[in-house]
């Protein structure tokens, strides 16, 4: 149910784009209106979600410490895994965001007879990293459609990504990697029993959607060719706010664009916001310095306390008998 509904949703999106352009000829809607709308939803939605998190304070200093604290000068302090200040936190966040440090620790727990064993389990880390880095490179590569002249950085990236020189148009390495990574991520969701048990429709949908985007992109580049010059004219038109609507681009292009628009519009309202959330995660972005620097809780309020006076009032005689000094006679 969760799986099929997600897959069907993506198929429906493909059909909508195909019918909308191939049959109904709504090129302006699918080439201009929807991309603009999706972009706005993404930008505003992303900001809204971040601000919503921002409205909740961080009342306590709760970093998860994963290494030796800064204490005595002769004990080696783990500056990254247990940061004591901003520099360490920045280092920790960089490792976390760019290299998925925590996921790199992943272990596999296995029961062998009456014993437990812990084995290395780096595949999830590798698959996740492969997907995210490919995604980033592909995103940056697409800047060649939005910038004129194409910056040398983008050209260089393009060249690196296609240095194998297989086929024409030259095969991008990231195209292969991202498909493999997405299929791996989908496969573990489908076939690892625990992961399947915890998965929701909102876990499958983005995977199918991304696979749809990647597949349509690959089809368009390598098989169902479209005229790249027209594509760039459309893309440049969008970013110069002078949209033109070429009608001579195949439906595969509009399917690709519509799926990407769907991803943009879906992004802020879904788990994909982990992309923004990671920056705000208090167990990672705080320094473990709460004994040195007082962390302020903005809603700290006075509470009822059982005072010493009340305590002594109750136990005075017993305290005196035991030789414990008291305040009042």
């Amino acid at each position: 149910m969760k799986i099929w509904s997600s897959l069907l949703a993506v198929v429906a999106l493909v059909l909508i784009a195909w019918l909308g352009t191939g049959v109904a000829g709504l090129y302006t809607v699918f080439g201009v209106g929807i991309p603009y709308l999706a972009f706005l939803i993404f930008a505003l939605g992303f900001i809204y979600r971040i601000l919503k998190w921002g409205r909740s304070p961080v009342p306590f200093c709760i970093p998860t410490t994963c290494g030796q604290e800064k204490s005595l000068p002769w004990i080696k302090h783990n500056k990254i895994e247990n940061p004591s200040g901003t520099a360490g936190v920045v280092g920790r966040m960089i490792l976390e965001i760019l290299f998925f440090r925590s996921l790199f620790r992943n272990l596999k727990t296995e029961k062998r007879g009456d014993k437990l064993g812990f084995g290395s389990a780096k595949w999830l880390w590798l698959g996740g990293l492969a997907f995210h880095w490919s995604m980033l490179i592909i995103l940056l590569r697409h800047l060649r459609f939005f910038l004129d002249p194409v910056p040398s950085l983008v050209r260089g990236l393009d060249g690196l990504d296609s240095f194998l020189q297989i086929g024409l148009p030259i095969l991008y390495i990231t195209d292969i990697i991202i498909v493999a990574a997405l299929l791996y991520l989908l496969a573990r969701r489908l076939f690892v029993p625990q992961v399947r048990y915890i998965s929701l429709a909102s876990d499958y949908f983005p995977l199918f959607l991304l696979l749809g985007i990647v597949t349509s992109g690959i089809l368009m580049r390598y098989f169902l060719r479209v005229d790249v010059v027209s594509v760039k004219e459309l893309a440049l038109g969008l970013v110069t706010l002078r949209p033109t609507v070429p009608t001579d681009i195949g439906s595969i292009f509009f399917i690709h664009v519509f799926l990407v628009s769907s991803l943009f519009a879906y992004f802020p309202w879904s788990k994909l916001m982990h992309a923004g959330g990671i920056f705000l995660s208090p167990t990672r972005n705080m320094a473990n310095n709460s004994r040195r620097v007082r962390h302020i809780n903005p809603w700290n309020y006075p509470v009822d306390v059982h005072s010493y006076a009340e305590y002594e009032a109750e136990f005075k005689e017993k305290m005196k008998k035991a030789g414990v000094p008291v305040e009042t006679e």
Partner: protein, 131 residues
């Protein structure tokens, strides 16, 4: 009230700037659509200005056709290409394509530069070899 507002707004500022950077980068730039030139002596001398395929086909598929030509010529020793009209052409970049399109700068490069493509034709072929 946004707690940790300075950092959050700084982060969002960077996010927004990155997001709209393609818009910003294009401000004040005229649309410069590529206009590949067909003005070469060889083309001007043609009675009917017709390439090996239709203009639409060539725009979209020329790289695949060239790739196919290369494989046919170098791997299978076939040097004749028959197009959809039944016309025959000699498979040769330098002697067929470039014979007409001798203006690489004004023809090939206009679009390639526009969409950021770097063809690797010239890693083997020599520019202007026919001249």
């Amino acid at each position: 009230m946004i707690y940790g507002g300075k950092k959050i707004f700084a982060g969002l500022f960077i996010f927004v700037v990155l997001l709209i950077s393609p818009f910003l980068a294009n401000i004040g730039k005229a649309d410069a659509q590529p206009n590949p030139s067909l003005n070469t002596p060889a083309i001007n001398a043609l009675a009917t200005k017709q390439c090996v395929g239709s203009q639409q086909f060539m725009r979209t598929y020329h790289m695949q056709l060239l790739n196919q030509w290369r494989d046919q010529a170098l791997r299978h020793g076939e040097y004749t290409y028959v197009n959809s009209q039944g016309q025959k052409f000699t498979i040769s970049l330098e002697n067929t394509c470039l014979k007409c399109h001798s203006n690489e700068q004004q023809f090939c490069n206009t679009c390639h530069t526009y969409v950021g493509v770097t063809p690797y034709c010239w890693e083997c072929h020599q520019k202007g070899a026919t001249q």
